[in-house]
C-alpha cells in the first residue's frame, strides 16, 4: 500500500463530486469508479466514503434516490444537486490554482 497516496483533507469530497458529474451512481459504483480513474493510486477507505456521502447530502450538494441497480437490486443512488455542481466548479478551480501554485513554488530552486 506504500505506493498509494493518502488523500489530503477535503479532497475526497471533490473526487466524489467529480465522479458524480456524469450522472447518478450508487455507493459501490462510486468507490469502483474512484479506484479506476485514479489507476488504483488512490485507495478510498470505504469506511470514509459513506460518511462523506452523508455529509455531502446534509450540505445539500448531493441528493439521494432509491433505484434498481444493474442486477435489479434496490440501491441508493447519489446525484449532484445544482449547488453540488456549483461547488464542484469552485473546488476544481481552487484545486487547480493551488496545484499550480504548489508546483511553481516547488519548482523554484
Amino acid at each position: 500500500m506504500s505506493d498509494r497516496l493518502d488523500l489530503p483533507q477535503g479532497t475526497l469530497d471533490l473526487l466524489i463530486l467529480k465522479t458524480l458529474a456524469p450522472g447518478p451512481q450508487h455507493g459501490w459504483a462510486i468507490s469502483q469508479r474512484l479506484q479506476q480513474v485514479s489507476k488504483d493510486a488512490v485507495e478510498v477507505q470505504q469506511g470514509s466514503l459513506y460518511p462523506a456521502l452523508h455529509r455531502l447530502e446534509r450540505r445539500g450538494l448531493v441528493k439521494t434516490e432509491w433505484g434498481a441497480s444493474d442486477n435489479n437490486r434496490r440501491a441508493k443512488y447519489y446525484q449532484l444537486t445544482r449547488a453540488g455542481r456549483k461547488q464542484l466548479e469552485v473546488e476544481r478551480d481552487n484545486w487547480q490554482r493551488l496545484a499550480a501554485v504548489m508546483a511553481a513554488v516547488l519548482e523554484t530552486s
Binding site: 459501490w28 469506511g47 470514509s48 459513506y50 460518511p51 446534509r58 450540505r59 434496490r74 441508493k76 449547488a83
Partner: protein, 875 residues
Amino acid sequence: MLSDIRFRMRALFRRNALERELDEELRFHYEHQVEAYRKVGHPPEEARRRARLEFGLDQVKEECRDARGVRWLDESLQDLRYAARTLGKNPGFTAVAALSLALGIGANSAIFAVLDAFLFRPSPLSRNGRFISIATRNDKISGRPISYPNFLDWQRQNQVFERMAAYRISAAVLVDGAGAERVPLLQVSAGFFPLVGVRPALGRDFRPEEHRPGGGAVALLSYELWQRRYNGDPALLGKALLLRGYGPVTAVGVTPRGFRIGPRADLYVSLDRTAARESRASANSLYGLGLLKPGVTLEQARAQMNLIARALEEQYPQANRGWRIDLIPFGRLRNEELRAPLFLLMGAVGFVLLIACANLSNLLLARAAGRGREVAIRKSLGATRGRLVRQMLAESLLLAALGGAAGALFAYWGCQGLLQLVGDLDQWPGGEPLGGIGIDLRVLGFTAAAAILAGVAAGLAPAFRASGRDLTAELKQSGPAAGGRKQERRWRDTLVTLESALALVLLAGGGLMMRSLYHLMSADPGFEPRRVLTLSLESATLARNSTAERKDADELGRRLVEEIEALPGVEAAAPAFPAPFGHGFSGNTFYAEGRPPADDGRLPEARMHYVGPHYGRAMGLRLRAGRWFAAAETGRAAVVNERMARLAWPGENPIGRRFSLGGAKPPWITVVGVAADTRENGLHSDPGPEIYMPISFSADMLVRTAGDPAAMAAVIRNRIRGVDKSLAVYDVAPLAVRMSDSLLEDRIFAWLLGIFAAAALCLAAVGIYGVIAHAAGKRTREVGLRVALGARSSDVALLILRQGMAPALAGIVLGAAGAWGATRALASFLHGVTPTDPLTFAAVTLLLTAVALAACWIPARRAMRVDPAGALRYE
C-alpha cells in the same frame, strides 16, 4: 442551510427509517465487495472475511450517524429517555423533588405575574411608547400629581406633545329615585377621549363649550354603570342625573365596554369647567397624559419640559420651587407605592425557590452517591466526564421541567388565590393594571426560565461530584461507600445550613409582619368599635346651600337621631363628618387664645370631627374631663383630645379655655370636654390633635346597637325611610368591618410573607430530614456495631441528632444574623414592633430549631431500633 435543517430534522425524527436505509445501503456495498473478491478467485468464505475486514460495518455506521450531525441531539434524547426511566423507577423521590420545585417555581411565577402586571408589562395603550404619563417630581419623590394651572402652562408651552390632557380621580354620590350610590368618577380635561383614542359607544363626547365654566354640565357613563343601574336603556341619554357635589348633570354618552385608563371610573365629567380657579400651589391632584409627536423621543421631550419647568419655577417660586416635570412611559407611573412591597415579596419567594433548589441538590447528591459504581462502569466503558455530567443534568432538568409544569399550575392557582385575597383591585393605588393579572406568555416564559435555572443550579454540583470520582477506588469498593466522602458530606451540610438560614430569614420576616398585623388589630384604638353601624344617606331633594335649607337639614338630622334612638336595640346615634374609616379627613389650623404664635407664624393643625352630641356614646369614646356638648352649642363649644389639650394648654386645665379656627380671630370656641386619644383617623397613624365640634346633620351617621349591628341594618334603614322616604341609605357596614378593610394591605402582606415562610419551613424540614435519613441509613452498619459493643440507644440517637443538628443550628445562627440586617427592609411596613423584635426572633428561632429536631428525630429513632445482628450481616 435549509437542506441542512431538513436533513437534520429527518435524521432526528425518522431515525428508524434512516437506520434501515443505512443498513441496506451498506449491505449492498458489502455484497458487491464479496462478489468482487470471489471474481478474482477467492473462495466464498475468504471473500466474505476480506470484505468484512476492509469494511467494518458498525464503525462505518457510527461515522455515518455522526455525519448526520444530530449526534448531540440524539444523545440528549437518549439522556432524557434514560433520565425519564430512572425517575420513573423512583416515583417517591421524583414526586418529592418535583413538588418542592413546583412550590418554589409556582410561588415565584405568581408573584412575578403581579409584579409584571403592575411594574413592567408595557401598557396596551402605549402606542409604540408615544403615550406618556405626565406628573411632577422633586429631588426626593417622583410621579406626584400636578396642579391645574401648571398643567395648562405645560400644555400651552411645549412643542413635543401632539396632544395633552389631564384627569383627576374622584368619586361622587349618584342619587335618583332608585337610591343613592357612591361611584368612582374621573374629571377629564378637554381632549381626553381623543387622546386616549376612545369614542363613546353610545351618544357623544364632550362639546368644547361643555369644558368652559358656565357651559352645560354633562357626563359620560361607563358601559358597566349604564348596564347595571339603567339596564342599558338608550333613553337615558339627555336625561339629568343628580351627582352630589356636582349638581344635576346631563348624561350624553356611554364609554365602550371595558374601557378604563387605570383606575375604574363609572362617570366622566369635565375638569376644565370647574378647575379654572384651582390654585397652583395646592390642589395637586391631577395626572397628565400626553401623546408624543411622531419622531420625538422621550429624552427630547424631557429636555424641553425641563426647560419649561425651570421657567415656571422662576415665575412662580412659591408654588413651583424644586418641582420638575416627570415624564414616564404610560403605565409605569402607577403603583410606585406597590414597588417596595412587591419587590420584597419577590425576594421572599426567591428565597423559597433557593431552598427548593438546595433540597433538590441534596436529593440528587444522595442519589448520585448511590450510583458511584454505575458511573465508574460507564467511565471505564469510555464515557467522557462531559457526557456523564450531561446525563445527570438531563435528570435534574427533567425534574425541573416537571416542577416547572406543575409550578405553572400552582402559579395559576396562586394568582387566583391572590386576587381573591386582594379583592377589588381598584382600591390599590392606580387601580387594576390594564390587561389584568394572570398567567400570560411573559409569566410562562419567566416560569420556564426559573425552571431551567433551578434545574441547572440544583443539578450541576451533584453531576460534577458524581462524575469526578476516582475510578479504581470506586470499583474496588466492595459495597456502598464506607466513609471517605468527607467532601460530599461537607457539601450536603452546607446545603442544610443554607436552607436553615434562608428559612429563618423568611420566618423572621413573616413573624414580624404577623406581629405587626396583630398589633394593628388588637391595640386599643381608644374607642369601642364593636356593635357600631356606619351608614350614609343622600336624597335627590336634600340641599344645604341656603340658610333655610341648612336649617331644614339640621331639623331632619335631629329627627333622624331621635327616631333611630327610639328603636329598640339602638343605644345611640350620631351624624359624623367625616365618618371614621370613611372617605376622607377634615383638617384646620387652630389658635389657642392667649398663646404666643410660633416663630414662623404658622398655626398648628388639628383634625376636625363635626359630630352629633351623642357621638361620644356612639363611638364609645372615653371622656377624660368635662362633658360632651349639646346640639344647641353648635359653633361655640368643642371637645378636644388629650394631645390637643397638651399641645395648646400644657400643664393647664383646658376646660373653659377658648380657641379659634383658621386664624387668631373670632369666633371663639370654648373647650367643654377632653376626650381620650383615639386612632379613629386610621389604625396606622398615631393620634394627633383632634377637635370635636357639634353638628346636627351629616350624610354619614353612626349607630351604636345593643346586639349585632349588621342585623339592625334593615330596621334602621326602614326607620330612616319612614322619616323621609326620599332618603336613600347606602354604604351600610359595621364599623369593625371598615376598620378591618383599612388593614387590607397589612393583612395581605402579612399573609403572603407568612405563607412563604411556612413553605420555606416545610421545605427546609424536608431537606433536613432527607439529608439525615440518608446519612443515618449509611451508618446502619456502624450503629449496629456500636450497639453490639454496648452503646445505649440514647447514645445512638444522640449520634444521629448531632450530625443533623450541627449544620441546621449553624444555619439558624447564620439566618438570625442575616435576618437582623434583612428585616430592616420591612421597617416601613411594621407597626408596634421593631424590625429586630427580640420576641419574634426568639420565637422563630425556637420554631425552626424544633422543626429541625423533629426532622432529625425520625431517622434517629429508626437508628435506635437497629438490630445489631441484622445490621452487621447487612451489605
